[in-house]
Symmetry: C2
Subunit: 254 residues, 2 copies
């Protein structure tokens, strides 16, 4: 599915749920807003939904909004001239989408599961960033976290073996899942992969065949069990982290 022809259709909910009951309010870009600006955000926000597989924006297209991921998973991808694809971002609930100040999208954004966005029109959002220091300060923090994650990813792509890449990837997903659930990642864990094998290979800089072979190898070695296409059970979180070479340890230091 190198280039998916599906054009993004969406349903706009002009009057979405309230920010107060919003499931991502604690962690999203709006997390630190005081009541006054939260009310203001409330008036300019709107929701969009995408089905799994739909493209949200193409690299090079204009994007007139920025957004928080409310539900589901989206990917950012870059493509070389001859069609080779690399994923460069994996957005999960509470993550921020878009770049304030840039009208043109640098990456292709795709929904890999059913996706719900809380969108803000660019102009009003940029104005609010100027007015309420808390928004841009939270965005700075989130961007610095993204940068650290990207650097961890560089280490993975540059120096890890296929087996280590898979193990690291599963650890990362498990950790993010646990954080979202407000738990500590440990012991036996259930995981529902939000990505196809192809998307995994785009994340890891591998081919789909190598991903499949290494998943089988990890299963053979008792580190994971597979249940259906997307289900994975990690026999032991710490063992898997070990198998990945070194993961996130440095990022965890505060």
């Amino acid at each position: 599915m190198q280039v998916k022809a599906a054009i993004a259709e969406f349903t706009a909910a002009p009057c979405g749920p309230s920010c107060v009951t919003c499931p991502i309010h604690e962690r999203a870009v709006c997390a630190r807003c005081d009541t006054r600006y939260l009310e203001c955000l409330e008036t300019v926000k709107y929701y969009r939904r995408y089905e799994a597989g739909q493209v949200v924006v193409w690299a090079g297209d204009e994007m007139d909004f920025v957004a928080s991921i409310v539900r589901g998973v989206a990917t950012l991808t870059r493509m070389l001239d001859d069609g080779r694809i690399q994923m460069v971002g994996l957005l999960m609930p509470s993550d921020f989408l878009g770049r304030p100040g840039h009208r043109v999208a640098t990456y292709t954004v795709t929904a890999t599961s059913d996706l719900e966005l809380c969108c803000f029109r660019r102009q009003p959002f940029e104005k609010m960033m100027r007015d309420d220091h808390r928004i841009s300060s939270r965005l700075l923090e989130m961007t610095l976290d993204e940068l650290d994650a990207a650097r961890e990813w560089l280490l993975l792509l540059g120096r890890k073996s296929a087996r280590e890449k898979i193990a690291s990837f599963l650890s990362i997903l498990a950790r993010r899942q646990a954080v979202l659930d407000g738990e500590d990642p440990q012991g036996r864990m259930h995981l529902e992969l939000p990505l196809s094998r192809e998307a995994m290979s785009d994340y890891l800089g591998l081919t789909i065949e190598t991903v499949s072979r290494q998943m089988t190898a990890l299963k053979r070695d008792g580190l994971i069990e597979l249940s259906g296409k997307r289900g994975v059970i990690l026999s032991d979180f710490d063992s898997l982290v070990l198998e990945g070479g070194t993961d996130g340890d440095a990022v965890m230091l505060s």
Copy 2:
């Protein structure tokens, strides 16, 4: 030089040059400060010098300052348990070093050429970020740029061949050099590499031998000429960019 034993010694210049005549003032984190805060920065800043090869901080160490690169080049690196190294950041003049809010360094910082830093003690700098919106807003912008660069780097590590990696790397250096000189990168260009072959291999996720072989190959094919260990002449900037698969095009879109 997996682990260089050299402990960072430095000379502190308590009263450095003035911000007004500072060569990086236009582009650094302080670029947008108004006069009042610039004067304030002036009182808390201090300079440090490192010789080529010295380590500025080790990953895991406390770092009580943040800094702007004034002169020279520094690298950020991460290491796996068994010693494999990956570079995850390449800092050039006007770039920012350190993470406000984090006391412990996540990456090992090394001077790869003689290096001059304009340092700010963490606490006063963080206070000033809170007081002067312009500092944190400039830092946000710089961090977003870094994130885009890191994502370009992900594409390079994940999907490019050794030859494309080298070509891309040289293009990136040439482009950054040109930007710093306020010129457009094009045609025949002279380049003085700020990195050893080993550092290049750490940047590109290759071995030193492969880097060397591909440099030779690019020379054989007339794309570059070598003059001494660090000197490179790009026969034609655009040809080299082409050889790199696709470089920075997307990042250049505004």
